[in-house]
């Protein structure tokens, strides 16, 4: 079974090689006439005074955490879905219980305002 993954490994090498090759090729071809102004970060012509890596909204972390929870729960359902034919009614009830717990968490997050953006 594992030999089915060999082509994927080859593909990873070929794709990475292609990306690096084009970068090296263009590195040989392109002109290099740099000056101080050209290397400034883009800010509509105004010189940036502070580091750009400032604090940003906590909501992005919240979204990331919710994503981890929900996506992992979804991946748990993949094997169940594959053998659903054998599990039949038992599997269905099991999964509805599982989904019910997931939905309770979802409703909690909604009520707490975790899904509000503004």
């Amino acid at each position: 079974m594992l030999e089915a993954y060999v082509p994927i490994l080859i593909f990873v090498f070929v794709a990475t090689g292609f990306a690096i090759f084009t970068l090296i090729m263009s590195g040989l071809l392109h002109p290099e006439r740099y000056n101080k102004v050209k290397l400034e970060p883009y800010e509509c012509g105004i010189e940036p005074e502070t580091d750009a890596r400032d604090r940003y909204s906590i909501r992005y972390y919240l979204v990331a955490m919710l994503f981890v929870i929900f996506d992992v729960e979804t991946v748990f359902m993949f094997p169940w879905a594959v053998i659903m034919d054998e599990l039949a009614l038992f599997g269905l009830i099991e999964m509805i219980v599982f989904l019910f717990i997931l939905v309770v968490g979802y409703v909690y997050a909604w009520r707490k305002g975790a899904l509000e953006w503004a």
């Binding site: 082509p7 990306a19 084009t22 263009s26 002109p31 993949f78 594959v82 979802y106």
Partner: protein, 339 residues
């Protein structure tokens, strides 16, 4: 040795070239379609009706000055485009373009490999691109790219949940994770799954638009707010890699949608005997045709719909699509037990 290494390598090289040509012509197609929607002609100068435009673009991007901003994190700045490009390409490894064909006295399947967790592989590899986007924005050390990469990542992962949830109902239908198996199960059911799962299809398509940062969900690249998006600081070939990856991802989403919902390489109405003459057309051309239809709809939507606002986007993802997707899984499960 020949079967294990040489043939896959040959197929990979051919596929890589096909994808790159498709991507560069998709860019031209987009410009042409949007031009015609707006009663313009689009690119006309390079070659007849501008068909050589992609070659001119490639030469231009190759020979452009490639700037690394003075404040940027040099190595991460270079690694980010590669980290976006590679996942966008290697997803194609499991997509079945056609069944096995006879070629030079050897039976060659028209896919790189058929692993038994194909769909899981697509989901996981496609999400790896987020790393490149967020690292690219971070390494630029500039305000607009950083904001834009945060937005892009939040958007991608939000819609990922709903899309993955619809895949669960598709696996319920097919009973397998193998991409070839999913196509063949549609042949067995003599039904394209779009007719059995229209709700899943709608969620998948909307999620697909959002995951490829396409209009009406192209906030990460909203020119009016964020200049150019997370690749504002990029130029030359490194910018080209981001650009290629974005269009390659469009082709990936269209191919996956074709495989899951439109029967992949199957002809229309796979169960109707009276239409058997359609089998004379090679199976892979059905696949290409269906994928092309999806790509055209992507462009059509971009030319037609205005952009969403960011809070509307997050509300649609978290409060509308996810509950519908969960409901769809339950309904599919119940229907599968009852029927």
């Amino acid at each position: 040795m020949v079967d294990a290494i040489v043939i896959p390598l040959l197929k990979i090289v051919i596929l890589l070239n096909a994808v790159l040509v498709a991507v560069s012509y998709l860019v031209l197609l987009e410009r042409k379609v949007i031009a015609f929607v707006q009663s313009r002609l689009g690119p006309m100068r390079v070659g007849p009706h501008g068909i050589l435009q992609p070659i001119a673009d490639a030469v231009k991007l190759m020979t452009k000055e490639d700037i690394t901003p003075a404040r940027a994190d040099r190595w991460v700045f270079t690694a980010a485009p590669i980290m976006v490009m590679v996942p966008a390409l290697i997803v194609f490894a499991v997509i079945p373009f056609g069944p096995e064909v006879e070629l030079f006295g050897r039976s060659v399947p028209l896919y790189i490999t058929d692993i038994n967790i194909g769909l899981l592989y697509i989901v996981s590899v496609a999400s790896l691109g987020v790393y490149g986007i967020i690292l690219g924005g971070w390494a630029s050390n500039s305000k607009y790219p950083l904001l834009s990469s945060l937005r892009a990542s939040a958007q991608l992962i939000s819609y990922e949940v709903a899309v993955t949830m619809t895949l669960v109902s598709m696996i319920l239908m097919a009973g397998t994770l193998s991409m070839v198996g999913i196509v063949e199960s549609q042949r067995d059911a003599s039904l394209w799954f779009i007719f059995a799962q229209p709700v899943a299809f709608a969620i998948f398509f909307i999620g697909g638009l959002a995951e490829t940062n396409r209009a009406p969900f192209d906030m990460p690249e909203a020119e009016q707010e964020l200049t150019g998006g997370f690749h504002t600081e990029y130029s030359g070939m490194r910018f080209a890699l981001f650009f290629l990856a974005e269009y390659a991802n469009m082709i990936v989403i269209s191919s996956v949608a074709t495989t899951l919902f439109l029967g992949g390489y199957l002809r229309p109405f796979p169960g109707v005997e009276g239409l058997a003459f359609l089998d004379l057309i090679p199976a892979w051309s059905w696949f290409v045709l269906k994928t092309f239809v999806f790509l055209y709809v992507f462009l059509w939507i971009r030319a037609t719909l205005p952009r969403y606002r960011y809070d509307q986007l997050m509300r649609l993802g978290w409060k509308v699509l996810i509950p519908i997707a969960i409901g769809n899984v339950v309904v599919t499960g119940v229907a599968k037990v009852l029927l």
